[in-house]
């Protein structure tokens, strides 16, 4: 278990990616603590009286050279829109790292990382760790259109990247589960993160083809620590907390109709 911390981090950059996403980069005077790919952080949102709870945000990347934590944030509500207003030099209070990450890296594995929308965020750090551990990641990223495909150049540093867009403006037209790479290449396992319907489709594909598969969930949560029991998911072991027992689950454990 990686130790958890409450830290005041400084905004080193807040980059507007498009109308719906920001990339918030946070740094510290001290070395950032160990964080595993697939884990998340809880960000305190200051300056908006309508926002009470912290916001759970997945760890997009940890840049060890610049000592920066990257959070790729989709602007979905009042909390994230308040975070979008942060500027360089502002301080942000963060609890981290939370939850269990993706599966440990096994040397020589051919891992397909399938992301959709904001769900592509945690796959970047995992891709880097897979490469460092001697595995081979391949990325399959799905989005509505070309403008929604984020961090493409970053992903390309760690493996082959395939894209699907719903309107066909980049990569293959359609959904991730229709992409030709699924038939042209073999993978030892799949890790996926994105909208639930997408992950269910990916899980169905994996099950039908006998490929191991894990999915990262994002149920609504309060504490992020396994205390409030609000973010539960139905599993073969009953209600489990996405925050503490997940957010990454083997699909065999989930009671999805697959």
């Amino acid at each position: 278990m990686v130790k958890k911390h409450i830290l005041d981090l400084k905004v080193s950059a807040n980059i507007k990616m498009n109308d719906k996403f920001i990339l918030l980069k946070l740094t510290s005077g001290e070395k950032l603590p160990e964080m595993l790919p697939g884990q998340f952080v809880e960000v305190r949102v200051d300056g908006n009286n309508d926002v009470f709870l912290r916001r759970p945000i997945s760890i997009n990347f940890v840049d060890e050279e610049t000592n920066e934590l990257w959070l790729l944030i989709q602007l979905v509500g009042k909390g994230t829109r308040t975070l979008a207003k942060l500027t360089e030099g502002d301080m942000v209070n963060v609890v981290l790292p939370l939850g269990n990450g993706f599966s440990p890296v096994v040397k020589g594995e051919q891992v397909l990382l399938i992301g959709g929308g904001a769900g592509t965020a945690p796959l970047l750090l995992y891709g880097k760790k897979l490469v460092e551990g001697g595995a081979v990641p391949t990325f399959l990223l799905g989005a509505r259109s070309a403008a929604d495909v984020l961090e493409l150049d970053e992903f390309k540093k760690y493996g082959d990247v395939y894209v699907t867009t719903e309107d066909g403006s980049l990569g293959e037209k359609g959904f991730v589960t229709n992409h030709s790479v699924l038939t042209s290449q073999k993978f030892t396992r799949i890790s996926t993160c994105g909208p639930k319907p997408m992950m269910v489709s990916v899980a169905k594909y994996a099950k039908a083809n006998g490929v191991k598969c894990e999915a990262s969930l994002e149920n609504m949560m309060a504490c992020g620590l396994g205390a409030c029991l609000c973010c539960v998911e139905n599993t073969t072991e009953g209600h489990l907390c996405v925050c503490k027992d997940g957010p990454v689950f083997n699909i065999e454990k989930l009671l999805w109709q697959i």
Binding site: K3, K4, H5, I6, R44, N49, D50, V51, F52, L53, R54, V95, N219, M220, M221, A222, C223, G224, L225, G226, A227, C228, L229, C230, C231, V232, E233, N234, G238, H239, K244
Partner: protein, 304 residues
């Protein structure tokens, strides 16, 4: 450094700050953030005789200055607690208190008997007020909203439980003072209040309630003035100690409850916003006492 120790019946607290049930797990979840032994008491996640899966997801809604929850007493049952969790928490040097819920009178009594056998658990907080239990025929809500049934369950548990018995009251009643007096007469050593306030949130796009159970329990600073008023009323009406809770976010809030007549306080929802808040509140109370020239926290209890 003022003396922060207080007493709830026979229960000695090193400081008046405890954690509210359901907001602090079994304490262990927060061990990376605070020294658990600096907290006056840890009231653990609600425990029932049987394993409960709780209510369906979604179970929470954020509101301005708080949240609404409907967890539904999810827990693995008191026998699981005794075998698997108790060994991990029993040597933590503070008061590790079991919050005990139930449905039938027998379920409360059987659960209390098991907890009575756990040497290192010095007290029970009896939940007769959780608004989330949907069982019919006298469960949860029903016990705590009526002085007669409230007294009935306290009396039954009192017969089988010989350590400190704190009874947690619901604010969702017409006259909380009459309930407090009834449980005092039935043998409670202390009362804690308030549990969550019944509330609701609606998603206007989906045109449906946000929470699966439609209504849930409201907590956080939004409920603090209501809680403070009820604590003040009850503290002036009963002769047993009162534990105050409801929306405490900082030391100043806790001090308000102490001045209103609470002997101790519980911190709940604030743990979700700042996992280290408990020890900060204890320190803040001490600073206040020093600044005002008090030697003991007991000197300010009930000054208002």
């Amino acid at each position: 450094m003022a003396d922060l120790s207080v007493k709830l019946g026979g229960l000695e607290l090193k400081n008046p700050v405890m954690t509210a049930s359901g907001t602090f797990g079994y304490g262990l979840e927060f061990a990376d953030f605070v020294n658990l032994e600096e907290i006056g008491g840890i009231i653990m996640k609600g425990t029932t005789i049987e394993h409960r899966e709780g209510n369906p997801y979604p179970r929470m809604a954020e509101i301005p200055m708080g949240m609404i929850n409907a967890v539904g007493m999810q827990n693995k049952g008191v026998h699981y607690f005794a075998e698997n969790i108790y060994p991990k928490v029993k040597d933590i040097d503070t008061n590790m208190i079991v919050n005990l819920g139930g449905t039938t009178l027998e379920s409360y009594v059987e659960c209390a008997k098991v907890v009575n056998g756990l040497d290192k658990i010095p007290a029970i907080e009896l939940n007769i007020s959780c608004p989330n239990q949907r069982s019919t025929g006298g469960g949860g809500m029903a016990w705590g909203v009526d002085p007669v049934s409230a007294a009935e369950v306290v009396e039954a548990v009192r017969k089988v439980y010989d350590k400190t018995l704190i009874v947690k009251l619901t604010p969702n009643v017409t006259d909380i003072v009459s309930i407090a007096k009834a449980v005092e007469s039935a043998g409670a050593d202390a009362v804690s209040l308030i549990n969550t306030v019944l509330g609701m949130a609606i998603d206007i796009e989906k045109q449906k309630p946000v929470i699966s159970t439609k209504t849930g329990g409201m907590s956080g600073p939004a409920v603090k003035p209501l809680a403070l008023r009820m604590v003040w009323q009850v503290a002036h009406a009963v002769n047993i100690p009162v534990v105050g809770l409801g929306g405490i976010m900082k030391a100043e809030d806790a001090i308000e409850f102490l001045l209103a007549g609470a002997t101790a306080v519980e911190i709940g929802t604030a743990n979700f916003v700042d996992p280290a808040v408990t020890v900060k509140v204890a320190k803040g109370i001490n600073e206040y006492l020093d600044r005002k020239g008090y030697k003991s926290v007991n000197e300010i209890i009930g000054l208002v």
